[in-house]
């Protein structure tokens, strides 16, 4: 499976009367893009903003983010969201670097918000903690149509507080479609131009004797080719597929700090790192994706057994595993660590520390085999953020009092992608 990523650097992005690309500047036809997004009756309106690194801007209510990418025929861009259900991770992908598409919206009827707030600062210390502080971002602030705000509808009832009403789930998916259509639209425009850089991803046979490494990837609020993983057994996926748009975040009620956005999958830190060292330091055998399980201990055991069995079938003797966060997911995650170590597969865990005060050990559940952990930071710590001139995405935080543009003592938990267990960021935590 060979993927060729053709990157074109975008120096600046502007809203204008026509979509075109010249001299590194991407102009976007505001009317055409609005029309494209508002094809979906889920939205009453959309506001488009371009924000740049250093702008005195805070974006709130962020739901997801994606990098503009487009796959020419016979490929499929973001299969089942934009393009047809075709395997990605091979062929050609056009990619725009230096820019991202962000989506933000108020919550709809029956949408839980206790973990939903996600903040991106374009200036100050917050900007340094997120990938989107360094990119020029096109922000789509989506306004749901009246039917999505009608709490009296039967499908606005919350049956499961974690995922919210079926109406809210539909809305979340529509938001991703709008985001990914925009991402593909932008990249298609630029894709006709010559790329600045071409990078090839291919797992060529590695020399014998190198450690054979697999990656156990725990998914939460994400889909694989548009399919939710809930209730499924672990399955294999090629690392190219993850990098090429197969995994899309569809649930916003996940801690922002460790929410693995669609963008974080396109730039998945662990996968990029394992790829970079494939054939030299290690033999990257593949990725095992599995869902954060429900509350059934037998299901958790089975998931762990099955995931480790797949690793053994791949001949693994070493593994990285990432934790999606949350209480229940900690159990199957740790069971995988135990079973993997017991199968002779040396395992390193990558985990955000999402619980507790500084004096709290912070574990929901652990096994004594969890001796090698990389921390992606304690997200219950406070970051001091400056006042900003402008707020995009909403008028008030979901669960933080006061005006969102004021100086804030915000928990790291609210900063989008600062501690994702995909390993993209540099945060850690230390014991004092």
């Amino acid at each position: 499976m060979k993927l060729e990523v053709r990157t074109t650097a975008v120096r600046d992005m502007r809203l204008s009367g026509a979509t075109r690309f010249a001299g590194g500047v991407l102009e976007i036809d505001r009317g055409e893009l609005r029309k494209l997004i508002l094809e979906d009756s889920a939205f009453a309106d959309v506001t488009l903003d371009v924000v740049r690194p250093g702008d005195s801007v805070r974006i709130i209510h962020v739901m997801d983010a994606a990098e503009p990418r487009f796959k020419p025929d016979p490929g499929s861009s973001f299969p089942t969201f934009v393009g047809p259900p075709r395997t990605v991770g091979e062929g050609v992908t056009h990619r725009l670097s230096g820019v991202a598409v962000l989506t933000a919206s108020e919550a709809v009827a029956g949408e839980p918000t206790y973990w939903r707030e996600a903040v991106v600062d374009m200036t100050g210390p917050g900007a340094a903690l997120t990938a989107f502080g360094a990119t020029t971002n096109l922000v789509l602030t989506l306004r749901p149509s009246a039917s999505f705000l009608d709490t009296s509808r039967p499908d606005a009832t919350i049956e499961n507080i974690m995922v919210g009403s079926s109406l809210a789930q539909r809305y979340n998916r529509s938001v991703r479609v709008a985001e990914l259509k925009t991402a593909a639209y932008l990249a298609r425009t630029v894709g006709e131009f010559e790329a600045d850089q071409i990078k090839t991803y291919e797992l060529t046979p590695a020399p014998a004797g190198l450690p054979r490494v697999v990656y156990f990837y725990q998914l939460s609020g994400a889909t694989v080719y548009g399919e939710p993983m809930d209730g499924m057994l672990p399955t294999l996926i090629h690392p190219n597929e993850v990098l090429d748009g197969a995994i899309v975040n569809v649930r916003s009620n996940v801690h922002a700090s460790n929410r693995t956005s669609t963008h974080a999958n396109q730039h998945h830190g662990l996968i990029e790192e394992l790829y970079a060292r494939h054939g030299r330091d290690l033999d990257f055998r593949g990725v095992i994706v599995y869902p954060a399980a429900s509350d059934d201990i037998n299901e958790k055991e089975l998931l762990a057994e099955y995931a480790v069995k797949l690793a053994r079938m791949l001949g693994a003797d070493a593994a990285c595993a990432s934790y999606a966060g949350g209480g229940h997911p900690a159990v199957e995650f740790m069971l995988i660590c135990r079973k993997s170590e017991r199968a002779g597969i040396r395992t390193v865990l990558v985990m955000p520390e999402i619980y507790g005060t500084p004096d709290d050990p912070g574990f929901v559940y652990f096994v004594p085999e969890a001796e090698r952990i990389v921390s992606t930071g304690r997200t219950t710590q406070v970051a001091e953020l400056p006042a900003v001139e402008r707020v995009i995405g909403g008028d008030a935080f979901f669960d933080v009092p006061g005006p969102p543009g004021a100086g804030q003592h915000l928990l790291y938990r609210y900063l989008l992608g600062c501690g994702t267990s995909a390993g993209n960021g540099r945060l850690t935590a230390r014991t004092y």
Binding site: G269, G327, V348, D360, F363, A370, R372, G377
Partner: protein, 349 residues
């Protein structure tokens, strides 16, 4: 530049008064450095001086702890120090407890930084390490010079308000406080480095040490369950419909109790789960699945239990810190005991 003023606290032995036979000596003070204080002064260098040595017999301190601590604190305060250094106490239990108590009193009451030194197995370490900077010493006075060097270096940093490094760099026993920092490499790079080093058989240092939780021994069995009052407590988030007290769905800071008087079973019209960490569909269909009032009322009617207490306690476990959870448990246990509850069924999710 004025020198930093340091007061040294030692026991009767290191003050040169005598051994076990003089362990009942009451607190007193001497001007300047005494005994190991001279080594301390050398380690502190030119920028600080030991202005006084306060001492107390180990038995006296152990037997009159409040009085001794108050007197020692007063003797220390008179010298207006910038830093207190206590010990090192090595593996001596009574001396260790005295050093810990003195340091904590100094920090809490006088708001002056304090540093002590102990052998990691000293019984006082467990009590004081979360709140104090304790430099790790050897088991006995053989390690005096090296320990005082580290205590002096750490003490100077604290007195000057400088940022402290990690415990293993500075030589103090980790207090167990976790703080977020920015590492030089991405988490992905660090993970793969750690994995490869581990596969090569090298010793690797985890970034997040596993905790050592306390274990609660089970109480003695209930003598006669047919007469016992049984209470329900849950972390599963079952509340009256509409969540009138706005119990948090995650990161709990509070608990509530609600009446079960006259309630034979919970209904989906009257009750719901607001827990933010599990699929609540089934719990909302039938809240007895999480808070089994129906079954307990049956058992009560059959005489299998004495009675079900007419109220229950609830909070949400999802994301609750162990600090808060411990506080909840203590508050609830007090109430349960006052109500002569003999057994609790705690349902978690």
């Amino acid at each position: 530049m004025t020198k930093l003023r340091v007061v040294h606290y030692v026991n009767q032995f290191f003050a040169g008064i005598g051994g076990e036979d003089r362990a009942s000596e009451a607190p007193d003070v001497r001007a300047g450095a005494v005994g190991p204080g001279q080594l301390l002064e050398r380690a502190l260098g030119a920028s600080a001086e030991v202005v006084a040595t306060v001492h107390c017999g180990d038995d006296f301190f152990a037997e009159h702890e409040d009085e001794a601590a108050a007197t020692v604190l007063d003797l220390i305060a008179r010298h207006q120090p910038d830093l207190i250094v206590a010990g090192p106490a090595f593996n001596a239990g009574r001396y260790g407890f005295a050093c810990g108590r003195v340091c904590r009193a100094v920090e809490e009451t006088l708001k002056i930084p304090a540093v002590t030194g102990m052998y990691p197995d000293n019984p006082a370490v467990e009590l004081y390490r979360p709140s104090l900077y304790i430099v790790a010493s050897g088991p006995n006075a053989m390690s005096m010079p090296a320990t005082l060097e580290r205590m002096a270096a750490l003490g100077l940093k604290r007195a000057r308000g400088e940022r402290l490094g990690e415990p293993r760099e500075e030589g103090y026993l980790a207090r167990g406080m976790r703080f977020t920092e920015v590492a030089s490499d991405s988490a992905a790079r660090r993970a793969v480095d750690m994995l490869l080093a581990s596969v090569r058989g090298e010793a690797v240092l985890t970034e997040w040490p596993l905790p050592d939780y306390d274990r609660v021994p089970p109480p003695t069995p209930i003598k006669d369950i047919r007469r016992a009052t049984i209470a329900l407590v849950t972390s599963g988030g079952i509340v009256p419909k509409g969540n009138p007290d706005r119990i948090e769905s995650t990161y709990a800071t509070k608990w509530k109790k609600y009446s079960l008087a006259g309630i034979k079973a919970l209904t989906s019209d009257g009750w719901q789960s607001i827990h933010g960490g599990y699929d609540t569909t089934r719990a909302n269909e039938d809240p007895n699945r999480v808070l089994p009032v129906d079954v307990l009322r049956d058992l009560e009617a059959e005489g299998a239990i004495g009675r079900l207490l007419d109220q229950y306690w609830v909070f949400v476990g999802s994301g609750a810190s162990t600090t808060n959870a411990r506080r909840f448990a203590e508050q609830m246990a007090d109430e349960l005991r006052d109500l002569s509850v003999e057994g609790v069924i705690f349902t978690a999710t």
